[in-house]
Symmetry: D2
Subunit: 469 residues, 4 copies
């Protein structure tokens, strides 16, 4: 998972990009980078860690110019490497170019093999590098033609920002898997994965990019291209952005994330009612759904779990083990809220089940009489191949266990998942799945992928696992 | 403000102290330190920054032994200096000793002058150093006698942990200004400013230390001393711990912080009712009071303000100013919750008023029709001299402005503070102020202080200011 | 200027490479890197700074395997960038490959333009990256054929080490501009820019690589190829390696550097005798020549200038200027050796003249009666295009001033340069310049270069300037 | 061993102190510190490592004022700790004071015990802290009286610089063990352990401080006090400063170090002549003596051993051991100089013998026919208690072995030490040992010490060992 941000036409482009990335930090904490464009030259700075760690005043001073793109990246531990930090920037026949990518290509291996055969050398294992190689091999004269012919070879999910010496280009793949919003800050155009970035910098949200749209901003203004419009590719926005990934104060794909989550909670309350004394969220991702559940059910809402603000990334764990140590560093139960109560606990999803089980036990240890787990999405049964880093299918507890079996594993009294129909109702598409990718719940992948990629990409929600477990 | 933690009788004493400090991190983010005791020697490690920054595996490996004390420290920017990081440790006539201090002495200057005249040299400007000098000058043979004679010369607030080659000693001043809890972890005794530290390490809470109590733990077990019992000093626990400082999942001074805050909200709803559509907390400190207010008033609770998890400490602010920049880095409004609504916003206190004003404006900008500010404590009119770092009196808006004037400054429709009587009712002392120090609201200081200290110490809630504004 | 080191067939390959680079540190202090090969994978580590700064035990632990190549790099301040740190490593059609390069290509720009037109993307501005692109575009099946066809397109100076998953390949360009020595350490083969690296690791020197030789070491042993043997390219070893660059305890190109320098001093004494009381070297590069001059002339040798061991790279210069500050940080005069004396001071070359002038003044300030400067090489009149970083021609004092004019600028009593003939005699090629490149003294460049490169590469001895001035 | 530097009356006091410490870096590489005085306040900065590592532009900017003192410190590995970094600075009854100390007190333990009994607390184990405690306990009104009464209680070696808000005070102990020179830089007074510091900053050397002299510089000028003049304490300047410790370009105690060393070599040539082909120094400390030996004997001088400039402090040693690894990192033999020769190798002293043995073997491995070791000082038989960090007596090879036995251990053909008489002749005191401490060679300690200190302080020349072996 990643976040991207772009701006052009602003005297403090890099500073604004820094703030935009700060607002998108939840989309990736492993590395951060900004490339600015000034006087016909690109200026890169990338580093491992949080935005506030990677950039200091010295680094910012070396990012001059009126245009910049930025990237925050999450990745699995194994491939943690500065070489994968984006934006990726190179020289090629048409000058300097940088790219920031949110999404995942399903034909990355095939592309790479083809490009290497044609003489390309690769410095990273990221699929993003292939995109630049395709551009470099394109024979088209015009930038947009070059882009179109290159993008046509990509399969999978890609929201992209390109920066050259003279242009900022934004692209959203024809399915529209990943979000990308367009905004305005005085005379400058801004682009961001989520609108919360616009709120921080006081930019005005204009609209989401359309699936398959290419937006080019240069000195002659902004133009839009729809090179894939004849392909009749259906829109497939990632429903998991609403379930978990996006910030609740963002709008993505035309919807308030907070309101969608609250609706999930309300529908869940209808689908899985229970006699109880208190509704408690797993903070922060379960809060909006818990408020919805509480309102619909009439059961009082309360904060029975407190989240620590100081969860760093390295801990010194005592050898003499502490039960549920990882969860305890992040969450603590409030005994006074839970003791003697029948508790409904709201969470957004269950991945491996280990964290949920610890939370149930923590709530019981605080004296709860009953624990009823409610999940504001359907069972997670399939890995994602379009940009959300998730465990393999075999690690997903719901891929091989029934809801009853999961409930027994979690040691809860009852367990209720939001239905697929309920999920679609919550995202305002009540009659059909039209418009959304819900493959992680249904296994119906909008873009097929070869067997080669299967082994590599099967990881689902691992970021979430790390962040919660 | 500071947090302290101690443990003795545990094979991984320093590791447990590390976790304890992690849980107390909200009490001080400027510096952290641990001193362990092993084989008749003290081993110190201190550094600037968060617990996770200060300690790595190398540092932990250099902290052997079965006993340790730790400290997290908050301080004003001016005196940020590694020399003030605690625990403070020295050699003196009776061997090695380390001390960790939460609180503030009001006779620090007088003590220092007296000690310097007697030949003492000082390496820091901290009042804690004086405590060790008093011990070093004591002629008493016995450790407890030496402590008693030294502590008798201190005026003000002090919860203290001492570590020697053979003993762990815990002290709470006769007024009991600052909290200190005693617990048990298997065969080990543990001490912590708040019980949330016990939850993380799975220690069992035994009881709070009594005001004026000295607890000594060594190889012959634990003993309690009450050397000040004849002095008839009234208990004066800091009520601001309940209002803002302590974590909601802690119990301090025998009360659940969360429940006290919820009661504050309920009483506030009775004292300052209003016709409104939604109750919104300023996260996280306003949450429990907002829930209380919502329940008592019947107005729905909702999360109209979202708090960022990634608020680092250094920002690169754009020169082209962004309105309410500081607040925006921490908080963002959810338009869908606030638009067209009459909003009650709950916060714990108003210091300078600048942050509250920005929050009101942010809520209005998100489309709220009315904004009603409710504060779960009385107007903050006086600085604290007992360990909470606060602005001078002249900076406290409530020291020179009426509630109406403050409301106008905040640009809110109505403003309601919890009454002093309501505050006392919330902390379960309905008929009197007996047992609490509420000097920051009343100006009635339990311990007098000389004019000399006035100029130096007059700072109230500055930590909070920094953390919120 | 750079230093390269390679080893294959040793259980501690990276550790040995680390030591080898340590011994070659004088050839480049800006960045250092090692790539090791283990289990069909390459493991890179690169960083800015000295070898001891770049590598710690953690970094070394991540460099497993029985083969490794390493690189130390010097460069002009402007292009100081981690992206230029070598070895350069990539994936391409034939797997993973890393390269370490000592030298400079004169057709770098033309190569780059051609490669970009063919679709190559570049991540650095270094000419080394082109070498890998050529390999990637080669259609040859066999590794050596691929190498040969690629190397054939290079013009200029290149001593190269390549590392793949299975092979270590060493190359020296047909002119043999830069040194490269082959050695043996038990069962392992080692390669290094200078033999001083073999001395440290106790490897046995076997021989220098021949100009135009390709050496391949893999599991089936070591093989040598001479693909350029039909081209009749004359050998042109860089004479400046002997004058200044190589360590005196090294043998390069079959000669003891120390003995060559001593001979330069002896011949200089014959060419430019003078009545004097003491011969003093500019340490350390002038020592061997000074000893030679002293022996030949019979004038006593003495250490009138002391060099500091602690010359770091950043200084805080007082605003109130100190005369000859830069030189003083490095050198100090010994008054007792110089006072009242007629002093012959030996240095290896004069670049801009500013440093030499300061040294003359420092010697006079210490009481010398006369100062006679003797330079153990001819006047430096032309920039180097083959890998030694040097100032532009206009900055070289000897390019536009006669010896008399230079002497006046230096404020010395007499100035004598070694003649070209003397230089050639010292390197044992008395009758001709056969076998050496002395273009920096003669302007007779063995490899022509286009006008395009002229502007870019004209820098001569800048490293030296930085190190001495 | 340590170096100290002070300046007062200069607008860039800290910058000049930084340069002074840079020139004194050879006297201590473990930590460095500067305290400046400005506007009635002292400003300290201390850190571990070299001067160039400890101070950057930010640190320098925090050292305002027209007066400053600085310190570089060497110490044994065991006590490496930032708490021991000097200058030591505190507040006491008379305000702020800082001290920088070169030397060693032999009554440190007794002082400490007495002070602790009187109520002093200690933050370090350094004997310097005691000096400040004595000052703090003094009842004298006047600064010089307070100093005199405190210094009178010290036994051992101490060259001291004190800095207060208004004064710079310099002290040399009555024996004058350690050097301290006074100079002038325009209107400013400067003080330094060695005159090489004056050369760098272009200060004029005025004179050495007299043994027992106290120099006070404040706004009313410079005054000298001789409070110990009635004690008839004989001067005992450390002869080892001349043998090894001081820089050859310094004058200490009225002598050119370089000339003294050259005389040592000349006398050694008369005392231990040998038929040989070449005289080779162990660089850099053996150079001047080798030149002297060569001149006196008529045997040619040559640089058969080359010293690396890049000896950092941490190495990654290969597990597969390299013979004489430590020495090889620092020194390499030049085969062409040594092969087939009868070699005289000059070194300043032999400590444990291990390094010398490795050098002998390295010279033989380079082909020398005979190796004759000549040492420009007498056998090192006794530890130093006055500030030079040395191994215990049992580690000194000469304390328990005859010269013949040592020669056999070193595997040299002959071994010759300078005689005590020769040493005294070299330092220009031919008829007697009057004026020098040569206890490390003779065991005749000028200041007696208790048995208690014996165990602690017995370390001789360990710094040297580390630097050479």
């Amino acid at each position: 998972m990643c976040g991207i941000f772009g701006i052009t036409g602003h005297p403090e482009a890099a500073n604004i990009a820094y703030l935009g990335l700060h607002a998108l930090q939840h989309r990736g904490q492993e590395s951060a980078g900004i490339v600015s464009s000034d006087a016909g030259k690109l200026h890169p700075h990338r580093g491992m860690g949080l935005v506030t760690d990677v950039f200091d005043s010295g680094a910012m001073a070396r990012l001059p110019g009126r245009a910049a793109i930025g990237h925050v990246r999450y990745s699995t531990a194994g491939s943690s490497d500065i070489r994968h930090a984006q934006p990726f920037s190179v020289q090629y026949a048409h000058g300097a170019i940088a790219v920031a990518h949110n999404g995942n290509l399903v034909n990355a291996d095939a592309l790479r093999t083809r490009l290497e055969t044609a003489g390309s050398i690769f410095q990273s294992t990221s699929d993003t590098e292939s995109i630049i190689h395709l551009l470099a091999h394109s024979r088209e004269k015009d930038t947009v033609d070059r882009l179109t012919s290159s993008l046509r070879q990509l399969e999978g999910a890609f929201s992209l920002l390109f920066l050259t010496e003279t242009k900022l280009v934004a692209v959203r793949d024809p399915h529209g898997f990943r979000p990308l919003a367009l905004g305005r800050l005085k005379d400058a155009f801004v682009l961001a994965s989520e609108t919360c970035a616009f709120d921080l910098i006081e930019a005005e949200f204009i609209r989401d990019l359309d699936p398959g749209e290419i937006v080019v901003v240069d000195s002659s203004g902004m133009r839009s291209y729809y090179p894939f419009s004849g392909d009749n590719v259906p829109k497939r926005f990632c429903v998991f952005e609403h379930v978990y990934f996006a910030r609740p104060d963002s709008r993505v794909d035309g919807q308030s994330v907070y309101r969608v989550r609250e609706r999930m909670g309300r529908i869940l309350a209808k689908e899985h009612p229970v006699d109880a004394d208190v509704v408690v969220p797993v903070p922060d991702s379960g809060i909006a759904a818990a408020i919805g559940y509480a309102r619909e059910s009439g059961i009082p809402y309360d904060m029975g779990l407190i989240r620590s603000h100081y969860v760093g990334r390295t801990f010194i764990e005592p050898q003499q083990s502490i039960r549920h140590f990882g969860v305890k560093l992040k969450l603590n139960a409030v005994r006074e809220v839970l003791e003697g109560k029948r508790v409904v606990v709201l969470d957004d999803s269950v991945v491996r089940g280990t964290t949920s089980r610890k939370i149930v036990k923590m709530i019981r240890a605080a004296g709860a009489r009953e624990v009823h787990v409610r999940i504001s999405s359907p069972p997670s049964t399939h890995p994602c191949f379009y940009g959300i880093d998730t465990p393999t299918r075999s690690e997903l507890i719901a891929s091989s266990h029934s809801v009853d079996e999961i409930a027994r594993y979690l040691t809860c009294d009852t367990l209720g998942y939001l239905s697929e129909k309920g999920l679609m109702a919550a995202v305002s598409a009540p009659e059909s799945r039209e418009g959304y990718c819900a493959a992680c719940f249904t296994g119906q992948y909008p873009v097929p992928f070869g067997s080669a990629s299967g082994g590599k990409l099967i990881r689902l929600h691992a970021d979430r696992t790390e962040r919660l477990e």
